[in-house]
């Protein structure tokens, strides 16, 4: 079933939430008010926005260090995210995880890893738990094109296929593995063809087209919920801010970068919604304004929050005595 007008507007809202938060993270880092290693996903916002509208709070995601967009789309409250990125005691993880290790079980964000590929085996385990218990849950395992070259990817696809686990492997292919191009580091042009090696469906879609991502994800999620096992969904996209904040991107060909920016999914989708009479410019402006307000509140909450006590260094290493 194609996305309804209401769903399309919700996808827009999530994309705007991701974009505006990203803009503010970067302005705060530049202003010296936020100190963190930041792996911006600006340019990739369409992918989690279009997938997450197909999920419930019961469904799980795993993601990676470039994962703030995935978390916002899945529903991690911005103020808790901001507090975590600012290293505050009020953050999702009490400031002990940071941008590469966000966890927020209430919204289904179970693991964020800083180790390329490592969240895919864990996603299999989340799917296994749902299967063993007969629960209706699916797992979205987010990763990048670079991670499709590490062993964990291949072991996970095989294991998920053998056990028919309800896992959707979502490769957000932004064409660069750190600084290495897809062509120089990956033996295939389309990651999705690797699915054939594990006997599971693999599709490639335009990761900047919300409808394409939505339709492909819908089919993969349907399959997983029906007990038919995993799928590999590759969404081709681009990251506008390099590997990590401060990366000047000298290794990115100028014409490739210009073409990617011309294909920026956020204005592209906004213009399409208006052109197709799904929403008016004023309605979308209102959505943007509400998000700006929410971000302002999140920034204030984070910056006014205390840093964690040093006693936290001795807490959460093992279960509290008496509980183990």
């Amino acid at each position: 079933m194609p996305a309804s007008q209401r769903v399309l507007v919700e996808i827009y809202r999530k994309m705007a939430l991701i974009k505006h938060n990203d803009d503010r993270f970067i302005s705060m880092i530049k202003a010296g008010r936020l100190t963190m290693p930041y792996y911006s996903a600006r340019g990739q916002e369409c992918i989690p926005a279009a997938i997450s509208v197909l999920l419930t709070d019961r469904d799980y995601i795993t993601t990676i260090y470039r994962g703030v967009h995935d978390m916002l789309a899945k529903g991690v409250p911005p103020k808790l995210l901001w507090a975590e990125l600012a290293g505050r005691a009020t953050g999702t993880c009490k400031g002990k995880g940071g941008p590469m290790h966000i966890t927020h079980p209430e919204s289904g964000c179970m693991v964020t890893t800083g180790i390329v590929g490592a969240s895919m085996p864990i996603a299999c385990g989340l799917g296994l738990a749902a299967q063993v218990r007969g629960e209706d849950r699916v797992v979205i395992a987010n990763f990048g094109d670079g991670a499709s070259n590490i062993g964990a990817f291949h072991e996970s696809l095989n294991l998920a296929a053998v056990w028919k686990l309800p896992v959707i492997f979502v490769c957000q292919n932004n064409l660069f593995a750190e600084h290495t191009t897809l062509a120089n580091g990956t033996a295939v042009q389309d990651i999705s063809v690797r699915a054939a090696g594990y006997g599971i469906p693999g599709v490639t879609v335009d990761g900047n087209d919300p409808r394409a991502v939505y339709d492909a994800a819908q089919e993969a999620i349907r399959r997983a919920r029906a007990g038919d096992g995993p799928s590999l969904l590759e969404a081709k996209t681009f990251r506008f801010n390099g590997h990590v904040f401060g990366d000047a991107g000298e290794y990115i060909p100028k014409d490739q970068y210009a073409a990617a920016v011309a294909n920026d999914p956020y204005p592209r989708f906004r213009d399409a919604l208006i052109a197709e009479d799904v929403a008016t410019s004023a309605e979308l402006d209102e959505i943007d304004a509400l998000i700006e307000t929410e971000i302002n509140e999140a920034v204030t909450f984070a910056m006014d929050s205390p840093f964690p006590e040093l006693s936290e260094l001795g807490i959460d290493i093992y279960a509290p005595v008496g509980q183990a």
């Binding site: 927020h104 079980p105 989340l126 095989n158």
Partner: protein, 336 residues
């Protein structure tokens, strides 16, 4: 599912004890699941049959043989444990933990801390090892120091069947990841059977034998050897106190300190290679905390700092001997 519990025999070996512990835990808690290479009955019930019968009794949903993908299935165990299952996974040989160390040390060990306590990993990784069977450099190593050096993991190494049962029950019930080290060459040594439901608390050492002159500290295989050394030394009038650590990390320092404060001498013995091993940590803590009460420097007895060799004379020479333990004890006494 209800099963008539068969009364265990008076003596059982460690293979049977661990099998019984996992079965009893699975009976008591449906969240306990088992997977690993060849662990289901179709594949033989485990390479040494530790998991024999479990898949038949508890079904293929809860007991599964895996592909040869340690990174994949240990990671899956981490994921399943995050949402409340209690996986008991078999990484067949301890050397194979090397191919899934990322999941163990970067994930299992740290997710409680990095999530600010929102998630945790109640996971048991069973793994066997030990030299003596000619299995050479990649099938015999004691690698416990790798895990002891990682905050967030508990490391357990039983020396006898009853402790193996009780420690396994405690490990499965524990809320943190546990590396459970099984000693291959002593798997089939029989010992007194545990009472059903017997739990041995993690982090608690056992004083196997009380003594006056020197404290011998070991775990896993070395407990057999320090007991043998103690018997020999007794004939020379040397009274040894024997401690079986049972849990290597966290160390039961109160028990160790009380014993060594009494005897004033200590020898730590392990099958792992000597340098940077658990013996070094225990020795350092004793010197730091009991300096004025020590009558002699703490001695370490361990395997040679080389890969485990194949050829029988080399393998025997690689391992410490009971004689080495006795020499170390006499060295501490010579310093009196």
């Amino acid at each position: 599912m209800s099963q008539t519990l068969v009364k265990p025999p008076a003596k059982i070996n460690t293979v049977q004890a661990i099998n019984l512990a996992i079965a009893d835990a699975m009976e008591a808690d449906e969240n306990v699941i088992v997977f690993g290479e060849d662990v289901a009955d179709l594949e033989g019930g485990g390479i040494v049959k530790v998991t024999q019968g479990l898949s038949t009794r508890f079904g293929g949903n809860r007991v599964r043989s895996t592909p040869i993908s340690e990174m994949g299935f240990v990671g899956a165990a981490v994921g399943a444990s995050l949402v409340g299952l209690r996986p008991v996974v078999e990484v067949m040989l301890m050397n194979f933990t090397a191919v899934c160390m990322d999941q163990i040390t970067n994930h299992a060990a740290k997710l409680r801390f990095m999530s600010g306590g929102q998630t945790h990993v109640p996971l048991v990784i069973r793994t066997m090892t030990g030299a003596g069977f000619g299995t050479g450099g990649q099938h015999s190593d004691f690698l416990e120091a790798w895990f002891c050096h990682t905050p967030g993991i508990k490391v357990v190494a039983p020396s006898n069947p009853a402790d193996a049962y009780g420690l396994m029950r405690a490990a499965i019930a524990d809320e943190d990841p546990v590396i459970f080290i099984e000693h291959l060459p002593t798997y089939w040594v029989a010992g007194p059977a545990p009472a059903p439901g017997h739990f041995v608390p993690l982090g608690k050492a056992a004083i196997v034998q009380e003594g006056r002159d020197v404290t011998l500290i070991g775990y896993s295989r070395s407990v057999h050897d320090i007991r043998a050394a103690a018997v020999n030394l007794e004939k020379s009038g040397i009274s040894c106190e024997v401690i079986d650590l049972r849990t290597i990390s966290p160390l039961d320092m109160p028990t160790i300190l009380a014993s060594v404060a009494k005897t004033g001498r200590a020898v730590v013995v392990h099958e792992a290679v000597r340098s940077f091993g658990a013996g070094a940590e225990i020795s350092a803590r004793l010197h730091e905390q009991l300096w004025t009460k020590l009558k002699a420097p703490v001695q370490r007895v361990a395997s040679k700092d080389c890969p485990v060799p194949f050829s029988k004379p080399l393998e025997t020479g690689f391992l410490y001997s009971v004689d080495d333990i006795e020499i170390a004890v006499r060295t501490t006494l010579a310093n009196a």
